[in-house]
Amino acid sequence: MWPFRRRPSDAEIARELRDHLELEAEELRARGAARAAPLDARRRFGNLALTTEAVRDVWRVAHVDQLWQDVRQGWRALRHSPVYAVTATITLALGIGASTAIFSLGDPLIDRPFPLLPESRLVWIVRRSPSCASCASTPAEYAALSRASRALSAVGAASMWRGTLRDAAGSELVTGYRVSANLFSLLQAPLAVGRGFRAGDDASGAAPVTVLSYAFWQSRFHASPGVLDSSITLGGTPHRVIGVLGRDLVFPTQSDAYLPLTLPPDAANDHTAQFLDLFGRLAPGATVSQARAEAQGVSAALAREAPRTDSGAVLAARPLSEFHTDDLRLLVLPLAVAVALVLLAACVSVANLALARTSVRRREFAVRAALGGRRGRLARLLATEAAFIAIAGGALGVLGAAWGVHAMRDTVPASFAAFAPGWVRMGIDGRALIFTLCVCIGAVIVFASLPIARATRVDLASVLSDGGRGSAGGVHGTRLRSVLVILEVSVAIVLLSSAALLTRSVRNMRTGDPGVRLDNVLTMHFSLPSDVADSAKRAVYRHLDERLGEAPGIVAAGFATTTPLSNNFQGVAFTIPGQPPPANGQPNGAIEQDVSPDYARVMGVRVLRGRGIGARDVAGSQRAAVINAYMANRYWPGRDPVGETITIGGDPWTIIGVASNVYHGGLDEPLRSEIDRPIDQVPIATGDLEVLTTGDPSRAKDAVRAAIASAEPTLAIGSMLTMREMEARHVSAFVLMSGVLSVFAAVTFVIAIVGLYGVVAYGVAQRTREIGVRIALGAGARRILRHVAGGALRLTAVGIVIGCAGALFFGRLLTATLYRVTASDPTTPLAVAGVLLLVALAAAIVPAWRAARVNPVIALRE
């Protein structure tokens, strides 16, 4: 108990005792008994060795030996009740592992997605309008904000860019951003080599320059320093490489190369084109809310200036860390709440187990106390046991967390991870680990102190006399445990019903028809040099169509402006002669889809009326358009639109057919009008190429690449994805979430049932004598059964009521992630409650049956 006081060495003890003898001998000598002195002193001292040993014992017992003794006793005690030890350890490990893993998500994804930048001083500007909650801004807004804002010391812009890198190795489609010249200095972005853009780089007519991302520098140029100041051909123009961004810097999303953003001189008057992501740096002393207020003022001023186009749009400044994390927040917040519930359930369950164990051991404690075991010692013994479980549970939990983090990181496809800069950095978070340890220690304190408080309050006489079956103490303990069981049941209900909701939602997403073929399709971006003539483009389409069709494993290939589900579509404005224009004065809009004849076949788009786009729709023939069923129904309700005409860019286009609907965003987004036109009549330089394969499309990648490189080396391709991967981008996060929640739910369900069983079984064991009396007085078996099982069901019912309330509340957190399922729908919690009630009944029946079969004679004699 006093571990810091130095223990004297054996030599020291011996020396002290020898001194004593010598001093005594000297005194005797001085008194005259010279000769016999040493002997007499020794004799008077008694047995020297015995005393030395006694002194040594004083120290020994307190130290390692006693601790060791505790450890051994604790270990022995746990080994004698392996069920308790294993259950408690696993429960704790589950709670700790799950929480560490989930809380490890928070830092890289939510709190600090851009750790290399001074995030706290950076904001991004989001444009909110009735039609779009989070959109890119217009050049007019950029100009106005740069001019007017005082809270922001600088405002920069970035705009997504896609182009071709062409060199001796061939053509490659690269993606990146055009950024304003001040953006990198505004961000204080670290550079690996060279410099970032500076004023003048973006002047029209300035020598073209580019900054590469570190990942692209490594993968494409093998991190060769010679690339700096060399010239690479991007989009057909030589660009000088002036720098490489710092390692691991991903901004704003994964990019290959950055170019300066050059806006036309009259850009400040452009109120319509929304293509700029705006970023700002807070002026010293300024806050995000000041910047937000200013941005609002700027949008109000713009709305007055150009009321038709800018009304309804509001700019808002938000911390940079929230860029791209809105979706993730939707996921991580419910998971964090869920995991906190799991942790709660785990702690409650361990406490419950510990309580049950103490109750069973009351007699043992009483005997120990009667034999002189001190309370402190008893408490230490219990604490050692608790520490065993906490250490084992904590260690297992950390292992589980490491596995969980890796599993989550690998479950999410790269295409999804690309949008969350922090995803690749995900690992066990140090703070989460410390949090875990705190929970661990907290759990030890909680579930060690509960039994200690109870065990050391043992009333010897009563426990020993009634054999531990005292009614008063038992009832008291059972009440506490009942409360804990109610808690467990309600947590289980919350998690079970939310897991059920999410699972239904994911199933709806999966079974919902996106309108396109998902299997055996490989998609990629393509890009042709911008200076290629339209006739040459047509030749490329046709040539590649043939060559790909001949390649092994490939059935057909189709060109399109955009791939369904890619969320990468653009709009086309049209008017319908004879129909009044929309009330707001704007033209009608539809998704623009320019396709080659084989596109519909590759993607499995069906023709519902008329005909699809075919080989005869070439340049010079009648301008043909296929519209989707949604558009047909919207503009020609109840009529056949085939043969009607629409006007696009002043030209009349004849509707030749109606095609089935295709989702271009996620399934949870509304359907939109779509106009498909023949690629020969609208020759596009960039777009997507869809390839139908005979087998696994991911295996066809090399064949496709080789066929294109040999047939059309000027056509650059990039971002190859199978349609399944494209789909996964929408679904995988929800699949991951529903999977995690289902595991959590299953764990808490088991915990709750085990807890319920424990309480009922223990209650029966406690009340054997009482039950015996009841039976002796004439209570029938059925009555006893009903009595015991009824108690268990009452507990479950209370837990269910609390749990259902919690489930409705938790469901509201989930609303945004649900697809075709309503969170407030009471059927899910009720169904879950029904199941839980049945299982609870089964768990209660076993001990209740045992109670009903109590033999009163034996029970009363015991």
């Binding site: 006081r5 020291e12 003890i13 002290e16 001194d19 005594e24 008077r44 001292f45 008694g46 004083v58």
Partner: protein
């Protein structure tokens, strides 16, 4: 020299006496034993086998502190014990308890003297 009958120590009183002895200043084990012996007129002969375990127990509990030092007028280094602040508090507590006990026992043993 007639040998007087040794008195048996009441449990716990040795610790108290050691603490009391040390209130007059640091002392080594032999010094403490001698002091108790002399103060009780040789009535109490401190068993050495119990003196040293007691000293070390008190040291472990932090009530006294031991230190090897050479006292003025001594030739050699001896282990001297001194009272710590905790020891002083403990002594007061034990002393008052002991007084109460002695008084109580006294009332039983000598009821007449009380009235």
């Amino acid at each position: 020299m007639t040998r007087r009958e040794k008195l048996e120590l009441l449990q716990g009183t040795l610790d108290m006496m050691i603490l009391k002895t040390l209130i007059f200043g640091p002392a080594h084990g032999r010094g403490i034993a001698k002091h108790i012996q002399q103060a009780t007129d040789d009535l109490l002969q401190v068993e050495h086998g119990s003196l040293y375990p007691a000293l070390h127990r008190l040291e472990r509990q932090g009530l006294i502190a031991g230190k090897w030092e050479t006292a003025p007028g001594q030739k050699r280094e001896l282990k001297y014990y001194r009272l710590t602040a905790a020891g002083r508090r403990q002594l007061h507590a034990r002393e008052s308890k002991w007084r109460a006990l002695v008084q109580a026992i006294g009332r039983v043993m000598q009821p007449a003297a009380e009235s």
